[in-house]
Symmetry: C3
Subunit: 340 residues, 3 copies
């Protein structure tokens, strides 16, 4: 990936707040992985298993932690966290976003909506009654924002995001296309076999610095808002039920489902495809590995798992046959033990 | 949650068709849970495990079933089903929806479409050729409706719903943002390694009083329509394949996948994250717990489960190690039994 | 399903490049399954388990393979693959799509975009700067296409598809409503508990003849594009992470999640609801059955499975109780063996 302009190694070291021991005047044109870097690129070592690639890389220079500095033959920049440095180098590749500001004539904006002067409303967006849009906000094409919702400063909504009424989104958030925030929670009472809808009247509150992936759905609360904490990152196609509370800086990977009224702590990590039961509490610092089914509350930090990894189908069939005999196996084992 | 206007306890009892024994003139301002109700709220007891909270609640009055009437110190309203009464009380909190009616000038409506006089078509909606929109229908902003589709009276489509051609939706349905009804089913024939598309020509038929969640997808049928029965409730991010038939009053929780040509009976409940195989039949009254994989037909009502709940990762690793040895365990057990 | 016009059996045989032994002048009005065909329909036998239905069908004629020709009492057309022939017959039922061509006045098209003369841009579509739209392309209503993206000839995007910037889509592709192509991959570095975004700067490359289902999300790459090979078919609600490479003619069923930087081979089939770990390699010709969790690379073609099928809840509870005792069972078994 090419930088927008070239930089000397010394300039990059200064930008990364790192230490450059040699090659300060070397001109670097871009950044890439150890494997794919060319002789004009800088690369980085973020994981120990890639140390062997240091000998093979074509890169002109390497960003490393102090612990791996002696393993590089190329000029290096020493930083505390090479992966974070990689992210910073990637920023040098991104073109400046055009400053648009203003409302595209094809957008439909309610008269009672308040749009900050530095906000951008792109083509065919719909902004409902009493909506408030903060400074520097970027509303993409074909976004819909329902009545009485608010969008905090510097937040970006990509094309086709759907925000219902009474949804409050913080500052510097990023919401990707197709995400739906504030649809009715799934609440019904059964009356003689018919399902009667329970009105879902509370909205959604999303704190600052949250990112929400494509086609993710976050339902509105019943009596109190569904809440997503500060710095939370949510991947694509995630389902978050009504009244759920997600603690600050928790990360939720793709295709996770969190049922209604559950509380997730701070600094948790929920692996892809996991399902979390409703009305339970997950404490701070819990990691759930991918495809786990969490049925009960978890009150101790740590790593939790369920499921079973895929194996050859023939072996799996054999395993399943004995799996269904498990209660029988246990019974026969007990009998043998008593016979001794 | 505040009522739109205050009500006396007697008024509420009349509205709920319940019995009020005392405090008839007490003025109630809103409704909330046992835990969060204030001294101007009414609350409700819907589940026996919350009986202890009756002693602690700050609520002015309680809606209860006759079996718990003697456990309340506050004035009560006795009803047959307190949870349904809660839903009714929530309706008193919801503002009346503004009566819009009419077609927003930014909507694009085909000349051959027939729109009832009391229907509302919001901004930037697209209505295709020969579409019929019933009385009191509410089409949200940026909704798209394909040719020859029909929307029954009083149905509401939230912003950005996508309806393909030849989709028929009943009366009083609610469809949430991002739901896609009528996309092509996933049908391909393999010809020497290449996948040849089988045209998907039948539409979708959705009966009355159905609710469909955000970003759910219901595919069109091949030869006969995919059908969703009366009163069915479908949560967010659910996938329903081509030719599927879902019986009346069945409820399908978030992130369920139902493969093509499967029939689900009436009054079933499918737990979140479950996958249901194609070309199978599930009889009436079946409950599937969350994250189950249903491979074969089920012909008896009852509760069905699969999967395994999440546990600490260290324990899970140990469990997996012995799980993979299950066929060996069974073999060794048999050997011991023969040795006796 | 009725044909657009009637055909004689001889005409159908010629169209299917099959052999018709009798009834050449018979007039056929449509096509349907063995079970549902009427006396003016042709039907087909694609799977051996349906042979018994040959005796019961009301169809006027049957499309069969040579191996089942002697089992039919009706006139037949013999073809190499009756299921492919069914697909061809279905094409005779589909109405010709109206040739629209041109740009609807409500569409917003950037001045720098290049739109082929025979392309159709429907109502309220948004076409960004420097986008290129090929000959015969059909862009549905309310589609959004970001800057510098390209759409190959004859490709069809249904209503409300979301294409980000720098996404390249091949020829003859079909993309269904709500699909989002090119959203940011889920890449963050952890800095003292806070998640720092890694810019996702590479786009997505989709080869020719790809079909992508409703509400599916395919993320853009970090340094190199996410790539979907030629002839790949992807169902609804599938999540494909950044940098993923999917080989030619692979088929991915609904609700699959593929984590970032994973490579899937050619001619693979991934069953519905499966999750595939990040940074692994799946070789060519691998089949993953539904709801599998693939944690590690697979380097041999074959069928792979995990999970456990749903059973009655009471049995499942018993099974789970013994399942959690598996390490203990193994230990006790070893003790018994040593005692012998």
């Amino acid at each position: 990936m090419q930088f927008q302009t070239t930089h000397t190694l010394a300039e990059l070291a200064a930008y990364l707040q790192g230490t450059c021991l040699s090659g300060a005047q070397m001109v670097i044109q871009g950044v890439n992985t150890l494997k794919e870097a060319s002789s004009t690129d800088i690369t980085f070592l973020a994981q120990p298993q890639y140390v062997p690639l240091l000998a093979e890389t074509h890169a002109a220079a390497v960003v490393v932690g102090a612990n791996h500095a002696d393993k590089c033959n190329q000029p290096i920049i020493i930083v505390p966290d090479p992966y974070i440095a990689f992210g910073q180098l990637m920023r040098l590749c991104a073109p400046d976003e055009p400053v648009l500001a203003g409302i595209h004539p094809s957008a439909v904006v309610a008269k009672t909506a308040v749009i900050a002067k530095t906000a951008t409303i792109e083509a065919q967006a719909f902004i409902g009654e009493h909506v408030q849009i903060g400074e520097g906000v970027h509303i993409g094409p074909q976004v819909s924002i329902g009545a009485h919702s608010t969008i905090g400063a510097q937040t970006k909504l990509f094309a086709q995001v759907g925000i219902y009424h009474q949804v409050h989104i913080g500052e510097r958030c990023i919401i990707h296309s197709g995400a739906v925030i504030g649809a009715d929670g799934f609440g019904f009472a059964n009356h003689k076999g018919n399902w009667i809808k329970i009105p879902q009247l509370a909205g959604v509150e999303i704190a600052d610095d949250v990112e929400i992936g494509a086609n993710t759905a976050i339902d509105r609360g019943v009596l109190t808002p569904t809440r997503i904490g500060r710095g939370v990152k949510i991947d694509n196609l995630v389902q978050i039920g009504h009244n759920v509370q997600v603690g600050d800086h928790t990360i939720i990977t793709g295709c996770v489902a969190i049922a209604g009224s559950t509380t997730i702590g701070k600094h948790c990590a929920i692996g892809g495809g996991s399902c979390i039961n409703g009305h339970i509490q997950i404490t701070d610092g819990v990691q759930i590995t991918a495809m786990s089914g969490v049925l009960a509350s978890i009150d101790k930090p740590g790593v939790y798992s369920s499921g079973s990894p895929a194996i050859e189908n023939a072996k799996w069939r054999k395993l399943m046959a004995s799996y269904f005999r498990l209660p029988d196996i246990l019974k026969r084992l007990r009998a043998l033990e008593q016979d001794k």
